[in-house]
Symmetry: D2
Subunit: 218 residues, 4 copies
């Protein structure tokens, strides 16, 4: 009997990871959640929980060896130092780059290793408005999100022809789970688009999708 | 009893329009197909057929008045003069601009008029690799597809906050319906993504999606 | 004795064309100015004046045959219909496309014909913020300026290796000649950058330069 | 008597830094060169030489305190790990990010501190084709160069209105100093464009300029 598909979602705690986990589970997929702080992962009874600092090569390698070959890996973590240029703490800037971009590389590399063995897989990266526009007083986040997009493009070009679907999502606006407010991105709505892209036939794969609320200025 | 949704697809004859018509019909939508040459539309027994030159303001106005308010309008027409710059016939270049971009404006304006009356709707434009890259010896097509993208962006910014979902699709590669070949974009696969985007909740609308076959170099 | 270089500036009347004419003349170049309305060209005593509707293939062909082979051709004309989508007059939209983009094609083609005979030349196009962003309630201008950029890219890729330098300038902000105000783009400052790019060695040609005042938000 | 302007060029050893140093000196500017390995800086008799690891906050702070307020700072360093994704050493990827992007942040911050005290300055960053396109098998370099561009955009938006000219150059192609070959970017030609941009009036500042040889495919 065929195993259920496995989704590995890295960087829990945000609304998006939770929505993705629930949607994947509702679709009959198995779900693994990984985060530095697994306390944030409580309450996902249907998912396996994994403690992992995505900026640590050994922990990421270990994470990807501890699960079966994932069909879908989503990289969500980000960290953001912001403020006027002169006020920024260099260590916080380094951390922003490491969590937002370098961890994406580590996860991509470790996930690709497993997926290439099997000859298929999907690898998704979560970006932001800052992925394509460097806003004033937000240099570190722009650096991290631009870098993640560069990574995604490069990996898409390398791995697409090897049957691994790499996609990058530009989430343009604030995420909110409040029921009555559709002026902000609802994480369930974002998750639905990730799933749609995951289900795409390989004759017409999306690389990049930008998502924003209907009222968002852009 | 609620009326079925209405999809109006402008520019039939390509594989994409046919696939969209079939998919919309299979989803229980009513379908209207419009093209300059209605001979190309034969065989879509489930759709109403409309003769319309999309570059003629009166014909486009007439088309949009002759149907009920569409829930979804898709603009597909394009025309392409190509060759070395010195070999291009200025009249062919003008036609490329008119079919590829100016007709898109006319349809957008006439469709928006109906949709704004009702307070909702979706308006999709079909682009190409040439929407974002001007290839050598293909200036007219780049002009038309760049222009269509500029139109789509502008209209998205104006009409999004009025509850009209404007989206632009970059089809990056050749389209083919041949069953065994997933090295080219299958029009059914493209159509599925259009439908997914049409079904998006307005808290997380996509503006732009690029689609290409897994093997495509980009 | 070597002839002075010839600059042909199409679309006079704006501050930029005047500044370019004066700067080129000050550099010892000969200057030809072409515009639909030659009344606007009065006062350039050092330049030859040419009446030309840039959207008319015959007039453009005639213009380029009436002058010696230009070393530099600059295409400046634009026209702008704007307002809410529903308020736009289709004929004004067509005119926006023709003046802003189609005329650029005609001039590029006619200029390239002369330049290719001699094996060198520079062909510059003037864009705007709207070349890369479609603003709300400004669809026609976005269509025209996006199209002009697509043209410039395509022609740069075709003609660069034939020793013709094609460049596109994104003028991001309002132009003003008022002496004390450097919050808006001074046309003399823009012209200086055009000249710098014209003087570039072909081992390092710029294709695109964006210019804006120091205070401009972007 | 007015002091000569001071140019601080970070990241020597490449052809570009040397050409910039010579051109600035020829223009009567004072030149300071900083690099991790000062052996590479020998032979620039007219410049002050500074040993500095641009990825070390303390060394960068020290460098900027050891010189007078620079009028122009250019950040050139880059490092490149490349190869198939699975073959990349995570430490090499980290180093690529640090040298190519994080060092740019450190230099920008330390230079801005000095320039803001005086109320003017120019801060230039050297990018590459990989700044806007993530090539296959070159993920780390894309990450670094994308990040540097995000930094430059953010800092330009913050510091432009404070009279600091921030510019980013996309060097698209290989650099070569060989005299007879203009099929590759000559560093003197690149340096000339940097100087032209440095000399721009603030009513029309360039943020981004792409440079490539006339024969380059792009």
């Amino acid at each position: 009997m065929a195993q259920a598909e496995l989704a590995l979602i890295v960087g829990a705690g945000s609304g998006l990871s939770g929505s993705l986990a629930r949607l994947c589970a509702a679709q009959g997929m198995r779900v693994a959640l990984a985060a530095r702080n697994t306390d944030k992962l409580k309450g996902f009874s249907g998912a396996s929980l994994h403690r992992c600092d995505a900026t640590d090569p050994a922990q990421v390698a270990s994470l990807l060896e501890s699960v079966e070959v994932p069909d879908l890996v989503v990289y969500n973590p980000s960290y953001r130092a912001r403020g006027p240029l002169l006020s920024l703490d260099p260590e916080e800037v380094r951390k922003t780059l490491e969590v937002t971009a370098y961890g994406g590389f580590l996860v991509a590399q470790a996930a690709a290793k497993r997926m290439l063995e099997r000859g298929r897989g999907s690898l998704f990266f979560t970006g932001a408005s800052a992925s394509i526009k460097g806003y004033a007083e937000s240099a570190p986040f722009a650096m991290g999100k631009f870098a993640l997009r560069g990574l995604a493009q490069s990996v898409a070009r390398e791995l697409g022809p090897k049957n691994i679907h790499v996609a990058h999502f530009i989430i343009d606006g604030g995420i909110s789970r409040e029921g009555d407010n559709d002026n902000r991105l609802h994480p369930d709505a974002i998750a639905q688009t990730y799933l749609d892209v995951y289900r795409q036939h390989r004759s017409a794969w999306a690389f990049e999708v930008d998502l924003r609320p209907w009222v968002e200025r852009f």
